[in-house]
């Protein structure tokens, strides 16, 4: 990468150069462009509605996450009994059979990751507006982790889908999806949309503004 200027200097951004960058294909344009001529994506120097959308999806995701934990995810019919298990209940049951590894995977994927995501997105959105003592590199990294890991929460929904399709042995054993499968899937989708709505350039803008305030 060719780096013009002194590397000690803060990096010039497209916005400061009076240009607007396309986030889809990294091309830069003059500010009079509404859409990127190369890839057709909508251009915005800074996505001003970004934080609002982040919070809207965030609230929707959290609202769906609560019933996802209260209602059963799976309803199992066997000859002897009908049992329905919630996310946490199912993990506890698996652990009681001795499969601690799998129980841990389920707990991490459906409890730890979703809650961690809600906290991380909230922190990013608040710090993008107010600034933070956490270095922007670290926050950028946190954002990338959130974006990467969010999809993996879907694993529990797929497990329910596989089981309900497979375990259909008439009266001997059958598994039906519970209502939590739907709300959990919605919660994952909404938090993914929340994370995608976040304009990570805001992290760097506030970081730079704060530094400028300190030096003057």
């Amino acid at each position: 990468m060719e780096i013009p200027g002194n590397s000690e200097e803060p990096r010039l951004t497209a916005r400061e150069a009076g240009l607007v960058a396309c986030r889809a294909c990294a091309r830069v344009w003059t500010p009079d462009h509404d859409r990127c001529e190369r890839c057709g994506a909508r251009l915005q120097s800074r996505d001003t509605g970004s934080l609002q959308r982040v919070w809207a999806w965030w609230v929707a995701g959290l609202t769906c996450y609560i019933p996802a934990n209260l209602y059963p995810m799976l309803v199992t019919d066997t000859l002897m009994q009908e049992t329905s298990s919630t996310i946490v209940g199912g993990a506890v049951e698996i652990a009681s059979h001795g499969a601690y590894g799998i129980a841990a995977i389920i707990l991490i994927a459906s409890v730890l990751i979703p809650i961690g995501k809600f906290l991380a997105i909230a922190f990013l959105a608040i710090s993008a507006r107010r600034g933070s003592h956490v270095a922007p590199q670290k926050r950028q990294h946190l954002y990338e982790v959130v974006e990467f890991i969010g999809r993996w929460s879907m694993i529990d929904v797929f497990v329910v889908a596989i089981l309900s399709a497979l375990v259909q042995l008439s009266s001997v054993a059958s598994i039906q999806p519970g209502p939590a499968a739907l709300t959990f899937a919605l919660s994952v989708v909404f938090t993914m949309l929340s994370a995608q709505s976040f304009d990570s350039r805001l992290i760097w803008d506030t970081a730079r503004r704060n530094r400028r305030d300190r030096t003057t």
Partner: protein, 218 residues
């Protein structure tokens, strides 16, 4: 140079020579790193350009393989189950349509989309975009839009997550019944590995460059 270029410039270069980091907006003069190398944003460490040798051909080969695997994995049995003389086998389509009653139908549609439809569409879009580039032809109509869509769909293609989900499902019912792997299970396992490799090969900046200047590509 096409006359869509503007009088504006930065660092004394025309705008088409510049690249802005999509994560932090830092502006650079784009320069292709040597094949196999990477150009990384030095502010936020996002990888900007990472050309690979013969990437286009490899991606096309891998994508074709994925297409064949997905289509055949859809119809072959995926897992089968036995207990007390009763048996059942499920294909991926069965799993996707497991949620079929009432509001669950929406979930079924979503599941089918994420494990089969979206990955398939992405593969077709990538083939549509890359095939003419690799064989030195003019890109097909709307190739740029197709490529942007294929990138936007990326987080919603969840075939590999589904594969891990199978492993979890196996353990969950291990004490309930006997489980066996169908041919589609192995196809899907191969597919997951290929998908991961494939995404690694694709350098989006190089593709955008070739779509922009189809004539003087290196």
């Amino acid at each position: 140079m096409p006359d869509t270029q503007h009088i504006h410039s930065a660092f004394g270069r025309p705008l088409e020579d510049l690249i802005a980091c999509p994560s932090c907006d830092a502006l650079y003069v784009a320069r292709m790193p040597e094949t196999g190398g990477r150009a990384v944003c030095d502010r936020c460490h996002t990888v900007l350009i990472a050309p690979k040798r013969k990437a286009g051909l490899r991606i096309i080969a891998l994508t074709l393989a994925v297409l064949i695997l997905v289509v055949s994995a859809m119809f072959f049995p995926f897992l089968d189950i036995h207990r007390l003389g009763l048996g059942n086998s499920a294909s991926i389509l069965d799993a996707a349509t497991a949620f079929s009653s009432g509001p669950m139908a929406a979930l079924g549609l979503g599941t089918a989309a994420m494990i089969v439809i979206v990955p398939l569409i992405r593969m077709l879009l990538i083939l549509y975009v890359l095939t003419p580039i690799v064989f030195d032809r003019q890109p097909f109509a709307q190739a740029r839009r197709a490529f942007r869509w294929s990138q936007e769909l990326k987080p919603w293609a969840m075939a590999e997550i589904f594969a891990i989900g199978c492993a979890v499902a196996l353990v969950k019912v291990a004490d309930l019944a006997q489980i066996g792997f169908g041919p589609a299970f192995w196809m899907f396992s191969v597919l997951v590995v290929i998908v991961l490799f494939n995404d690694n090969y694709l350098c989006t900046w190089s593709v955008w460059k070739s779509l922009e200047t189809p004539k003087n590509r290196g």
